[in-house]
């Protein structure tokens, strides 16, 4: 199976307080930010690796995992990290962060999918910066491919995938014919969430994403990294989403302790005015 994993770097979600807005409020200040791969995209890469291997032999890839990102040269660091964990090759589409929106990325990805011809496009369910949750869905629509979002379980089943989606009250199981677009949720990296045809049903993965062994880190710099121009993948690069102004969220006031229920009711009624 050939899997294409589009991924995005985001400002380190564990250090969100470092995100600053420029003085004119026009954009988010990106200098000095520590970048991390979007966690859901990391899960998508882990899922792609699990789908292209026998879980007992993770060094041998059955198929191909291609990672792609849109952004400036420094994004190659994120791609190299994915090559080190096991992806076969990487593509960077040259672009600046504020030249992109979900609609443009999805259209460029459609063109890339037509060139690369993967059996599966795996994405994180959303990026944790913009939280727009769009690219996977728009891409599936543009391609006319079957889609499953927020997958918590994937099993390879002949020429299709069995996908479990966690929803309120239970799990919806879908059978998705390939080629397809699937976006993944947090629990996709649980020990018994993803099974390729080669991985036996009683095999259990370690929880979470795998770490890169040192030899793979050393070899990652020799793996192919292609650079494409955004204009080669999308003729219309106008943005549909405009951000007129950014503001940091207001600081939250400290909580208050109340001594009894009567005081609580009084404050809810007269201060918070929610009763």
């Amino acid at each position: 199976m050939k899997v294409l994993v589009p991924l995005k770097r985001v400002a380190d979600p564990d250090n969100a307080n470092k995100v600053k807005v420029t003085a004119d409020g026009k954009k988010v200040e990106t200098t000095g930010l520590e970048w991390k791969p979007n966690p859901f995209d990391e899960y998508a890469v882990e899922t792609a690796l699990r789908l292209t291997e026998d879980g007992t032999k993770p060094k041998t890839r059955a198929g191909e995992v291609v990672v792609v990102t849109f952004g400036p040269k420094e994004c190659e660091i994120t791609l190299r990290a994915m090559l080190a964990t096991g992806a076969d090759r990487a593509i960077r589409v040259e672009a600046e962060d504020d030249q992109l929106d979900g609609w443009l990325v999805a259209r460029a990805l459609k063109k890339l999918v037509e060139q690369e011809k993967p059996d599966l496009v795996l994405l994180g369910k959303q990026a944790v910066d913009g939280d727009t949750n769009q690219v996977g869905q728009i891409l599936a629509e543009l391609l006319g491919w079957p889609m499953a979002t927020s997958a918590a379980m994937i099993k390879e089943d002949g020429e299709a995938l069995l996908v479990g989606r966690e929803v309120d009250g239970g799990v919806i199981n879908l059978k998705v014919r390939l080629p397809a677009v699937v976006t993944v949720d947090l629990r996709i990296v649980a020990p018994a969430s993803v099974y390729s045809k080669l991985t036996k049903a009683d095999f259990k993965y370690n929880e979470g994403v795998r770490f890169a062994p040192l030899p793979a880190i050393m070899q990652a710099k020799k793996k192919p990294m292609a650079v494409l121009k955004l204009a080669d993948l999308a003729t219309d690069t106008a943005l549909r989403i405009q951000y007129p102004r950014f503001e940091p969220p207001k600081g939250r006031a400290a909580g208050k302790k109340v001594k009894d229920v009567a005081e609580l009711v009084d404050k809810l009624k007269n201060e918070a005015k929610v009763l």
């Binding site: 190659e76 190299r80 990290a81 040192l214």
Partner: protein, 379 residues
């Protein structure tokens, strides 16, 4: 952490090593180290994981099964383990001690040991050099080897020898008629002639006194030329010092990061303790010292990589500065944590004992004074 002036490709590689080593540390957890310390255990499970992940051969050439990743990567590995709250002593030994073999061993010796060291199947953890009467003065060795036909007969008494109970291969420094000479012993073969007595030390370093009695070895176990023993050991010192510096920077960052976190979350007397100047200023001050030591460490790494002659002096300075920064950071942690700093559950007292092992710098200060400043020889 940002390595100064690194190109972005190399920076990315070192960042990946940090991420990867952190993931391995997280897999075992910090209480793993509390447990190995409390039970004086060898960190076998951790070393197995590091072996599977290819880290043990970081300094071994590819032709012998290693990754040849170099001292920058090796230094980041030990730094991250200590920064996490672990103890990198064993992996430091496994990565670096075989360097003498890589540089001076015969092809047969290298093929015998290095591939196993790279995977972890063979443990190469011990150099037996220091002696009861002469200490670190390795020119006055009492231990000896004398020729007997084609063989050598070794008699040795060595003290403060780390990990001798656990290693499979050991380098021993003895005096021969040609001068100081190294032998590379296979512990399984020589065990009947060995006596190893543990020394109860401040931290879990598996330190021992070692006696070798009337041991006959073939000349094929000699490592390097007869009389060249000290030189063969010393040309590996810049790398060993950089790794000791990186271990100390890891220890220092452990104390610093824990202190910063505690100072900015712990409230007493109605305010954050980090608002108190008596807590705040030492944290700010030691931060500067850690960063300065780290700059010297990366300077030394680059000089080693270039083969520059100043690598010896700069690596000595890096080790001195880093161990002093870690010592000071351990005091800062005690100030910040108060009584909790002495409680096992906060890990400060354990790391404080680990970090103390690195504070003995007199030989290095003497080296700096003599070699870098042209002062009279102190030792």
């Amino acid at each position: 952490m940002t390595e100064p002036n690194e190109d972005s490709g190399r920076q990315a590689e070192l960042d990946q090593v940090r991420t990867s080593v952190r993931a391995i540390c997280n897999k075992h957890g910090i209480d793993y180290w509390r447990q190995t310390d409390a039970t004086h255990a060898y960190p076998e499970a951790f070393m197995d994981t590091m072996g599977e992940a290819g880290y043990l051969g970081a300094l071994i050439p590819g032709a012998y099964g290693g990754t040849d990743a170099g001292p920058a990567v090796a230094s980041v590995v030990v730094e991250e383990i200590n920064r996490f709250g672990g103890d990198a002593a064993v992996i430091n030994a496994q990565m670096a001690i075989c360097g003498t073999l890589t540089r001076h061993g015969t092809e047969a010796q290298k093929l015998r040991w290095l591939p196993g060291v790279a995977t972890g199947a063979s443990r190469f953890l011990t150099v037996a050099a220091t002696e009861p009467d002469s200490g670190a003065d390795m020119s006055k060795l009492a231990s000896s080897a004398r020729r007997d036909g084609d063989d050598w007969i070794i008699d040795a008494r060595k003290i403060l020898i780390s990990l001798a109970e656990y290693t499979h291969a050991m380098i021993v420094l003895v005096k021969t008629s040609e001068g100081p000479t190294l032998f590379l012993l296979d512990m399984d073969e020589v065990r009947p002639h060995l006596e190893i007595r543990p020394i109860d030390l401040i931290s879990n370093r598996h330190t021992t006194t070692l006696f070798i009695d009337d041991l006959r070895v073939p000349d094929s176990m000699r490592l390097g030329a007869p009389g060249a023993g000290l030189r063969c050991l010393m040309d590996g010192f810049p790398v060993r010092r950089v790794l000791a510096a990186a271990e100390s920077i890891g220890n220092a960052r452990f104390f610093f990061e824990r202190s910063l976190d505690h100072a900015t979350t712990r409230r007493t007397f109605g305010r954050l303790i980090g608002q108190n100047q008596g807590v705040q200023y030492p944290i700010a001050s030691v931060y500067g010292k850690i960063e300065a030591a780290d700059l010297m460490r990366w300077d030394a790494v680059r000089r080693i990589e270039k083969g520059a002659s100043e690598a010896g002096g700069r690596s000595a300075l890096a080790k001195i500065l880093a161990s002093e920064a870690a010592w000071e950071a351990s005091r800062v942690a005690l100030t910040t944590f108060g009584g909790w700093g002495l409680a096992g559950e906060y890990h400060v007292e354990r790391k404080l004992r680990d970090a103390t092992v690195f504070v003995f710098n007199n030989m290095l200060l003497s080296y700096v004074a003599e070699r870098m400043l042209g002062m009279p020889k102190a030792f």
